[in-house]
């Protein structure tokens, strides 16, 4: 009896420690004590006091996928706050795999002169590069290239098209 309980407790604790993985859309479950953990964490009904506490988190199918492109505001090479997490995850991935190499490809929308836009694309790629290096990624793992306005993904001239083209793409070469 005792050993079963220990095993179970261990299992419960290790489950809690593993926790819900890094899905940004799903808030962490409330911290609980082991008694609550009896029900394997996600439990719901049967609360004696009658208040509604139902529901169960579903798995986020994109939770594991790492975004390979981030977008920029007009005339800006600042990484958006919402994308800093993406960059950090790339930094972690590069840190964990010192043999991997990433090429940061910078892009701009089509407005204005072409070679100047090469400069704007490069500024964006460099902003991401700096952020990776600050987080410990070795310079040897990173290269940059700017395509300016030469490689659009959206071929029109609307603001939406422009917004889709102002980007940095992560291309792993290893």
């Amino acid at each position: 009896m005792m050993s079963y309980f220990k095993l179970f407790a261990l299992a419960a604790i290790s489950f809690l420690l593993a926790g819900c993985p890094s899905s940004p859309n799903v808030p962490d479950p409330e911290p609980t004590d082991t008694a609550y953990g009896d029900d394997a964490g996600a439990t719901t009904d049967g609360m004696g006091d009658g208040s509604y506490g139902g529901g169960e988190y579903l798995d986020d199918p994109t939770a594991g996928e790492l975004a390979m492109v981030i977008y920029f505001d007009f005339d800006s090479s600042e990484v958006r706050a919402a994308d800093q997490d993406v960059v950090s995850r790339h930094a972690m991935q590069l840190g964990d795999n010192p043999n991997s190499r990433v090429r940061l490809e910078g892009h701009a929308d089509e407005r204005g002169s072409r070679e100047y836009n090469i400069g704007l694309g490069e500024r964006r790629a460099q902003a991401v590069r700096q952020m990776l290096m600050i987080q410990g990624v070795s310079a040897a793992q990173i290269s940059t290239v700017s395509f300016g306005e030469e490689r659009p993904v959206a071929f029109g001239s609307s603001e939406e098209d422009y917004a889709q083209n102002r980007r940095v793409e992560f291309k792993y070469t290893n």
Binding site: E110, G112, S113, I118, E122, V145, E150, F155, S157, K171
Partner: protein, 431 residues
């Protein structure tokens, strides 16, 4: 260009000093009526190898300064200068008449003879004969048009010059890029280079024999110099980071280029093509790019956003402190000087639209010449009188020309589908 035209002989020298017709150009509204009479033909084949009169007519018409009349209106159609009747031409109302004939002199040898007359003055302006082969016939016709144009306007014609440009065509998910050269009127296009990766910034060497350009083959930017006649090319710059915006020095021995390095700080460098030695001209943390030489070789003009947004600066080609050149508007980029050194063309943001503007370097005034929303890549013709640039027509990139005073405009037919961009006008050909 080869030496196939041989010796040009002045047939009937003009009596006294050369007279330039006093023709007033008031813009597209009043082009000068002229007549280019269909040329005579003396040769083996039933038809002449090229309708020379049509080439000359099209050239004069395209310049925007002349209105060649239709054949039906011609009361006489002489094919020899001796047969001109000024009375008939006065009646028709033209100011100048071109008469000519093509004579076969050998298996693949011809002679182009033509005469230019001033109708009001009732006199011949000049007569000329030029040898040509079937292969050089078109060039000869353009040279004839140049001579006629210059005699009538005082401006050197550019009908025998070339244009280089980049095309981009969608192929499924990818784009196919080509670097091409054609006659100034789009005829005879020839593909210099083709690639799945972008091609940018073509530049002519002063002797027209080579083109420099940026290629993104291998997913990195490199600068190449390619010899047109052989197709041979060599890589002149392939540093880590950006290699861009090549432009030849007036003596053809150097290129001004943009290098970014590992840290992506774009700056202007002068690169000796033979020794590959580089001299750095800017060190600012800003984007410094799009360098171009002044025709006298003393200055390099470039784009810099060191004051916040892109403006045009210049620096002595031997090094020094850059000085700012443009102060009007929030965006001035991609400088190009006219070959006579008097004007500076640029991409200028005019109330939200990117347009071509020209600054008179003495008066420092700015004239906006184009009317689109995304106009770019201005390039002067070697006579400094016309600019070619890229604009948008719906979704397509197309080319347009405009006279330096903004009065005469010409849309160029775009190729079969896709974008045409980055036009660069050749220098005058050297033979």
């Amino acid at each position: 260009m080869r030496k196939l035209l041989g010796i040009l002989v002045l047939l009937f020298p003009v009596a006294g000093a050369a007279q330039i017709l006093d023709i007033e150009v008031t813009g597209i509204a009043q082009p000068t009526p002229v007549a280019v009479v269909p040329f005579g033909w003396e040769g083996d084949a039933p038809e002449m190898p090229l309708d020379v009169a049509q080439v000359i007519t099209d050239d004069l018409f395209r310049s925007g300064r002349f209105a060649p009349i239709d054949e039906e209106k011609m009361l006489q159609k002489p094919t020899d200068g001796a047969d001109i009747d000024f009375q008939d031409w006065s009646f028709v109302g033209v100011e100048a008449v071109v008469v000519g004939k093509l004579v076969q002199t050998g298996a693949n040898a011809y002679e182009l003879r033509f005469w230019l007359f001033d109708v009001f003055g009732r006199k011949q302006l000049f007569g000329y004969r030029m040898p040509a082969s079937r292969g050089t016939m078109r060039i000869a016709a353009h040279r004839a048009a140049d001579m006629i144009y210059e005699k009538l306007t005082g401006i050197k014609g550019v009908f025998g010059t070339k244009v280089a440009y980049v095309t981009a065509r969608r192929q499924g998910e990818e784009q196919l890029y080509s670097l091409k050269v054609s006659d100034y009127d789009g005829v005879n296009d020839f593909t210099i280079m083709e690639s799945k990766d972008p091609i940018m910034s073509p530049a002519w060497s002063p002797d027209s024999r080579q083109l420099a350009y940026v290629s993104f083959e291998g997913s990195k930017s490199s600068i190449f110099v390619q010899t047109r006649r052989t197709g041979n090319r060599f890589r002149v710059s392939s540093e880590p980071g950006i290699n861009g915006a090549p432009s030849f020095s007036p003596d053809g021995r150097k290129l001004v280029v943009t290098l970014g390095g590992v840290d992506g700080n774009l700056d202007i460098y002068v690169l000796d093509i033979n020794t590959r030695r580089k001299t750095r001209l800017t060190t600012n943390r800003a984007i410094d790019t799009e360098g171009t030489w002044s025709p006298d070789g003393r200055y390099i003009y470039f784009t810099s956003d060191r004051s916040g947004g892109p403006q045009i600066y210049r620096v002595r080609a031997t090094g020094g402190t850059p000085e700012r050149v443009t102060y009007e508007g929030s965006y001035n980029a991609r400088p190009r000087l006219s070959p006579d050194g008097k004007r500076l063309a640029m991409v200028h943001n005019d109330r939200g639209n990117y347009r071509i503007a020209v600054m008179n370097l003495e008066r420092r005034d700015l004239l906006v010449l184009s009317t689109g929303r995304q106009d770019e890549s201005p390039s002067f013709a070697p006579n400094s009188d016309i600019l070619i640039y890229a604009t948008r027509q719906g979704r397509d990139g197309v080319l347009e020309t405009v006279s330096a005073d903004g009065l005469i405009r010409q849309k160029m037919a775009s190729g079969a589908g896709g974008d045409v961009r980055e036009p660069v006008w050749s220098p005058f050909p050297r033979f």
